[in-house]
């Protein structure tokens, strides 16, 4: 049924949907198809090129292109070829900004939580602290532990802030800063004990950041609270800048840090890599 409804009219000179096609707008389909012909690699197109790409007649193509120009979606170049005009931005860009980091990452975080059976979190740097932007809790009944900032079984929610220096994600985010900014942020921190193994010496913190910058994996070995262990990996944007970090929080079946790394390092790095790829990062490139 749907197929029949959307079939293109055989007569290309018939521009408007007839009653038989009332559930589908060919005019809209054509308009969108013409806009979709333009890419950063192919910013300038003539009528004939558009015709060939879409298999439409000259008359039809010309009429649609003229309408798109009138409404500010296309503009004609000095060479008489067409390029996208700024109206094209309003078709969908504004909402893309509502589709932010979390929308790109959430399904990967769910998959990571399923693969590990553990709680996973994502955070960005917010000065000397980290800001939790998303998390997926471990399955119920799996003796789930709260995230890195959790104390006494209290889970922390998206929007929470935690000190960067005692969390695995914070260590990753600090490690990839320019030295000057890193120094500035460390100077703002009061390094106090949150767990049995919190790094409270500035020197030790610098060494740890140096190690992570080389090796990539941030660790929290009872630094934020007793019994809490987590490992974190960087999320990169299209230019390779580290803009977020993803972690896996060890549950009660995890014996120690080494066990946590052995079991989850591979899937964690793969998940962080996939999120980075969705943001435009090309590891080989």
């Amino acid at each position: 049924m749907a197929q029949q409804d959307r079939a293109l009219p055989k007569d290309p000179a018939r521009p408007f949907p007839t009653l038989r096609e009332r559930r589908y707008s060919n005019a809209l389909e054509r308009g969108l198809a013409i806009l979709a012909c333009f890419t950063p690699e192919r910013p300038l197109l003539g009528i004939v090129e558009i015709e060939r790409m879409l298999g439409t007649s000259h008359t039809t193509t010309h009429r649609y292109v003229t309408t798109l120009v009138e409404h500010g979606y296309l503009t004609q170049d000095r060479s008489r070829k067409y390029r996208l005009d700024f109206g094209a931005i309003d078709v969908g860009m504004e909402a893309l900004n509502a589709i932010d980091l979390c929308n790109h990452a959430h399904s990967e975080l769910q998959a990571l939580s399923r693969a590990t059976g553990a709680t996973v979190e994502m955070a960005v740097l917010d000065g000397p602290e980290i800001l939790l932007v998303d998390s997926v809790r471990a399955r119920r009944g799996a003796k789930a532990k709260p995230g890195e900032g959790g104390h006494g079984g209290v889970e922390i929610a998206a929007g929470s802030r935690l000190p960067a220096y005692c969390t695995s994600m914070g260590i990753v985010l600090l490690a990839h800063l320019l030295p000057e900014i890193q120094r500035q942020l460390i100077a703002e921190m009061a390094l106090v004990e949150h767990g049995p193994k919190t790094i409270v010496s500035e020197q030790r913190l610098r060494e740890e950041l140096e190690r992570v910058r080389g090796d990539g994996l941030g660790v929290n070995d009872e630094a934020s609270a007793e019994g809490v262990r987590a490992i974190a990996a960087p999320v990169r944007d299209e230019a390779g800048d580290v803009i977020a970090a993803v972690n896996v929080v060890g549950d009660e079946t995890v014996l120690d840090l080494e066990d946590l790394i052995d079991r989850f390092e591979g899937v964690l790095l793969a998940a962080a890599g996939k999120i980075s790829k969705r943001l435009g990062w090309d590891e080989e490139g």
Binding site: L28, F38, G92, L96, N97, V124, E180
Partner: protein, 228 residues
């Protein structure tokens, strides 16, 4: 092009919409609005929410992404803007003047305190009234005296903007002009509570001026190589 107007109704403030509001906004009958929505759904430009309302997919943004990606100005500026973000930790943008609005063509979010949640709805492709931003003010001032300065290196003034009080943002911008290119502005945005206008200029004025000069030099170089 009513069908395309339907896609334009989805914004970061109202990313999810039902058929009735779409029909009302476009002054179309419900069946007509439904036909457009069904077409967009079929072609993958819209998706349905569990409550059978609609939201845009990433595909809907493709024309906008293609347009921004083909702007030489944005390509030249991006590495410079990235370096400015790495060094300052602040949100860095490139904006163009479009009538009474500015249009952000690049926007990179900063990582210092308060930057991530500052003006979260704004990104590449967002517009805002020119008079409400440092970039808009810098661009308006630059366009006014542009003709006097073309052809030689222009010393742009830094423009500070207190922003809309509710936004909590303070901006610092500089216009970048080069013959044969649209005038653009580089803008730094900081949480108003973190830096006063005076501190903003003292701390970030010089790096911003340097970024503006570098971008201008690149554009002129680019033009020279095209003309050669």
């Amino acid at each position: 092009m009513y069908g395309l107007s339907l896609l334009r109704l989805f914004t970061s403030e109202q990313p999810i919409r039902g058929i009735s509001e779409l029909a009302d906004q476009l002054e179309l009958s419900r069946p007509t609005a439904h036909r457009y929505a069904a077409t967009c759904l079929e072609l993958g430009y819209l998706e349905q929410t569990p409550l059978r309302r609609y939201r845009l997919t990433r595909r809907a943004a493709q024309p906008g992404i293609a347009l921004l990606g083909s702007l030489a100005l944005a390509r030249e500026a991006t590495p410079i803007l990235r370096e400015l973000r790495r060094q300052s930790g602040r949100t860095v943008s490139l904006a163009l003047l479009e009538h009474t609005d500015i249009l952000y063509v690049v926007r990179l979010r900063g990582f210092l305190r308060g930057q991530y949640q500052l003006e979260r709805g704004l990104g590449a492709g967002s517009r805002r009234p020119a008079r409400e931003s440092a970039a808009g003010k810098a661009l308006n001032a630059a366009v006014t005296d542009r003709d006097d300065h073309l052809g030689h290196i222009h010393e742009s003034e830094l423009t500070v903007d207190e922003g809309v009080p509710s936004s909590g943002a303070r901006g610092l911008a500089i216009a970048v002009m080069a013959e044969g290119e649209r005038t653009s502005a580089i803008e730094l945005t900081v949480p108003a509570g973190e830096l006063s206008a005076r501190e903003l200029i003292a701390e970030l004025g010089e790096p911003l001026r340097a970024a503006g000069a570098e971008m201008q030099a690149r554009l002129l170089e680019d033009r020279a190589s095209r003309c050669a």
